[in-house]
């Protein structure tokens, strides 16, 4: 097999065009920014202009080039990725073959966007997202990774075993043919091999799974903790508020990196309280998990109880189900004591999960508390109090739904931040095993030979950056659309 080049035979035709489009885009944007900044500064210091400067003539003429060049760049970029689907193997180069591997993701994205745009008026805030180009772009990136993680679980996109080492493939450049490929093996290491001769591409797509399972779940837990503590702190105020706020500030004043270095070590995982009279040792991760994971359970029980306590049969059903299912998951996750043995988290993953929740929840607490302080002065809260509604009903069913806009936006941003935190942990080799394909750990493994073989570190770095960027853009789009009404 021949080694693949980045753009293959297709590149001879497309590369000059693409370079032209990118150059045009860069010139248009940079030129526009510089000229426009200059015009603004000039306007600030010119004493002659009396009125408001409504349009800046030179920068506007440059601005007209931004959109066409951006469209050309994007369009050509898509040709690179999609051409491989119709041309024979190898003609479209590495980019084309990557596009073929991601084919299920493209189809899923197209279906999602087609359905969402068709029914966007019926879909509430989610539908409104499709009015904002920035939000749509961010959503596309996020969904790209979500679909990738899902399809990798179905064994679709991945080309090789993410842990499999092939002799002779150590630190090989992208597009190197697989040495000694048997019948049915994928013939190339599309994005090269790492320093243990594993396929960089397969590790990167497999890593998306680790990241996309841990980060949203940890963020959700942090929100449950923050909401359960923030609602009463803001609503009741007084001593309760002072104590919880002091504790939250304590965690916030702790440098994150220091906390990770102290908390996520093998020694801490071994430390614990020996329960007298038994063999059992209450380990530090379990102690933290058993406290933090209790909050979602408490939250859901109070949520249903405050709503349905006037209808005991319904209340008993919901609360009972919550305790049964939630308690089962709680036993499995926090205590590793699932009676059926289905749910269990590896000790390394658990301490990573717990410390990420622990770091995030004080910030969520502060946001929720601030929102509650603002909303509790509204008339509808006073009306609820006059009707004789209980404090927990008001907090959970009057205040919380009205705080959802900022909370949803912050949720998106916070998933991004959590991904960055997970990457930091991986970068220092804390918590997850060194074989784990998650992006932080892969960057850490690749950085040692960075100046000679940069590809094993760059691929996961760009993947991580793109996902966080997607989440931030999505949050920006959501904020813009939720402010409109």
């Amino acid at each position: 097999m021949e080694p693949l080049t980045w753009t293959g035979a297709l590149g001879t035709l497309l590369n000059p065009l693409f370079a032209l489009a990118v150059l045009g885009l860069i010139l248009a944007v940079a030129g526009y920014l510089l000229v426009s900044a200059y015009e603004n500064v000039q306007a600030a210091f010119s004493t002659t202009s009396g009125g408001i400067v409504m349009s800046a003539p030179h920068s506007e003429s440059l601005a007209r080039f931004i959109l066409p060049t951006a469209v050309a760049t994007l369009g050509l970029g898509m040709i690179y990725l999609l051409a491989g689907i119709v041309t024979p193997y190898g003609t479209a180069g590495i980019l084309g073959e990557l596009g073929v591997r991601f084919l299920p993701v493209w189809i899923a994205l197209a279906v999602t966007f087609f359905l969402s745009i068709t029914y966007k008026r019926k879909l509430g805030l989610y539908g409104k997202l499709f009015d904002s180009p920035i939000g749509m772009f961010g959503f596309a990136i996020v969904m790209f990774w979500v679909f990738t993680a899902i399809f990798v679980a179905m064994d679709l996109i991945i080309t090789h075993d993410p842990l499999g080492q092939v002799s002779g493939m150590k630190n090989k450049l992208p597009g190197t043919p697989l040495r000694g490929a048997a019948e049915g093996d994928y013939t190339h290491y599309l994005l090269g091999g790492d320093n243990l001769a594993r396929d960089v591409f397969s590790r990167m797509v497999k890593g998306s799974q680790v990241v996309l399972v841990i980060a949203p779940a940890a963020t959700l837990f942090a929100f449950m903790v923050g909401i359960t503590l923030g609602l009463p702190a803001g609503y009741f105020g007084g001593k309760l508020d002072t104590i919880i706020s002091f504790m939250a500030n304590l965690v916030l004043a702790f440098p994150v990196i220091l906390l990770f270095f102290l908390l996520v070590t093998p020694e801490i995982r071994a430390a614990g309280i020996a329960i007298p009279g038994t063999e059992y040792i209450w380990r530090v991760p379990t102690i933290l998990a058993s406290i933090l994971f209790l909050f979602p359970l408490v939250f859901l029980v109070v949520l249903f109880d405050s709503r349905y306590f006037t209808q005991p049969p319904k209340r008993n059903l919901y609360v009972g189900l919550t305790i049964l299912i939630g308690g089962y998951i709680y036993l499995g996750m926090a205590w590793d004591a699932d009676p059926l043995g289905l749910i269990s988290i590896d000790g390394g993953v658990l301490i990573v999960f717990v410390s990420v929740v622990f770091v995030n929840s004080p910030t969520v607490f502060r946001i929720v508390r601030g929102l509650v302080l603002d909303i509790k002065t509204r008339d509808y809260v006073a009306a609820g109090q006059t009707r004789g509604e209980g404090p927990w009903y008001i907090m959970l069913w009057e205040i919380l739904p009205n705080a959802r806009g900022p909370l949803i936006v912050d949720f998106c941003l916070r998933i991004g931040y959590t991904i960055i935190l997970l990457g930091t942990l991986g970068f220092f080799g804390l918590g997850l095993s060194s074989e784990s394909p998650d992006w932080g750990t892969t960057i850490n493994a690749g950085r040692r030979l960075l100046s000679i073989y940069p590809h094993p570190a760059i691929v996961p770095a760009i993947a991580l950056m793109s996902l966080v960027l997607g989440l931030n853009l999505l949050a920006d789009g959501l904020r813009e659309e939720s402010l409109k009404d």
């Binding site: 600030a44 408001i52 004043a253 702790f254 440098p255 220091l258 270095f261 950085r447 100046s451 931030n472």
Partner: protein
């Protein structure tokens, strides 16, 4: 105002006390001590040998006692070995003897302990490393703050304009690029043989003696890039809010030119909020410094923390944590006081 500052300082001291106690607790957990004993003695120590070593060195005392000793409010632990030689934290050969050595020997007396990794006094190591990091952080701030303020003000003065959208997208992208991503990309593009542009060096070890354009640019850019986006977004929000204020509208209706409004009327008020944000950037800066120093092998404070934590060098780790916590708390205090001071509405009332 005086009362306010006093209360803030009180809360700060209480926080510092709680945080150092937590760090002390976590570094003194038994598995950590066991690891310390094994690295100091030998790795094949039996469990009994570990316990006797720890008892001799005073590590088996109750936690509050140990904390008091470390802080310098309880008499220091001294041991006498088989030959009758008394050793302790403040007993130094040639300087003093067991009789003349101070009884109290803790952080309050300026004794930071002994680093088991660097084989040196922890206090002097921290001072030296902090100095190195100070330069790096100073350069990063000198790049980050002007850039962030200019981007934020330009974006915020006409909300929703094309300029705003372009610059906002840039700041979102920069705040989505953590140090370990931008650092890796910078090294790969500007310092590796793979791309061929060997403009800068991928290691900043030589920058510890002497800064040059080649060895310090990449670390500074790496630290600054992640912060720029966040500060710029805060500045933009604050600027956009000020530009919709009543007094700005009045100025416009009076016929003041747009440039004059921005520079003379809006800017001063718009920069109050970013001041707070910049001060609160210090805790994040610490994370950035640790990552960047590790990546570029610049042996400053962050690199020292990593070494101390991975080798469980208790005295050094505690000292480093205290410094980190104090830096964070002092910047928070400055940010609170500065906010009150800058904002005439609060200052005068």
């Amino acid at each position: 105002m005086g009362m306010f500052i006093l209360r803030r300082v009180g809360v700060m001291l209480l926080t510092a006390f709680c945080l150092t106690f937590i760090v002390f607790f976590m570094t003194n957990l038994y598995p950590n001590l066991e690891k310390l004993a094994k690295t100091q003695g030998n790795f094949r120590m039996s469990d009994e040998a570990v316990v006797s070593y720890l008892t001799r060195e005073g590590y088996m005392a109750p936690l509050p006692v140990k904390y008091g000793r470390w802080l310098g409010v309880l008499p220091n632990h001294v041991t006498t070995n088989d030959e009758g030689v008394t050793t302790g934290k403040c007993i130094r050969e040639g300087v003093n003897t067991a009789e003349t050595a101070p009884r109290y020997c803790g952080v309050l007396q300026g004794e930071w302990g002994y680093s088991s990794v660097f084989k040196d006094d922890a206090g002097s190591i921290i001072a030296k490393r902090l100095g190195l990091t100070g330069w790096l952080a100073l350069l990063a701030f000198a790049v980050m703050i002007p850039a962030a303020l200019i981007i934020g003000v330009l974006a915020g003065m006409r909300e929703g304009s094309r300029m705003d959208r372009t610059l906002s997208t840039f700041s979102i992208a920069s705040s989505a690029t953590p140090e370990y991503v931008s650092g890796v990309i910078f090294i790969a593009v500007f310092a590796s043989s793979a791309f061929g542009l060997k403009w800068f060096k991928g290691s900043a070890t030589s920058a510890m003696e002497d800064f040059t354009w080649a060895n310090i640019t990449l670390p500074v850019a790496t630290i600054a890039l992640y912060g720029v986006g966040y500060v710029a977004r805060m500045t933009r929000a604050s600027m956009a809010e000020v530009m919709t204020a009543q007094y700005v509208r009045t100025a416009r209706l009076k016929g003041v030119s747009f440039g004059n409004i921005v520079v003379k009327h809006a800017l001063r008020n718009a920069l109050i909020a970013p001041f707070t944000v910049i001060m609160l950037q210090f805790p994040y800066l610490l994370t950035g410094v640790v990552i960047t120093e590790t990546l570029f092998n610049y042996k400053g404070f962050g690199w020292m923390l990593v070494q101390a934590a991975s080798n469980n060098d208790i005295d050094l780790l505690l000292g480093g944590s205290v410094v980190a916590v104090i830096v964070v708390l002092v910047t928070q205090l400055i940010s609170d006081i500065g906010y009150v001071f800058l904002n005439p509405r609060i200052r005068i009332s």
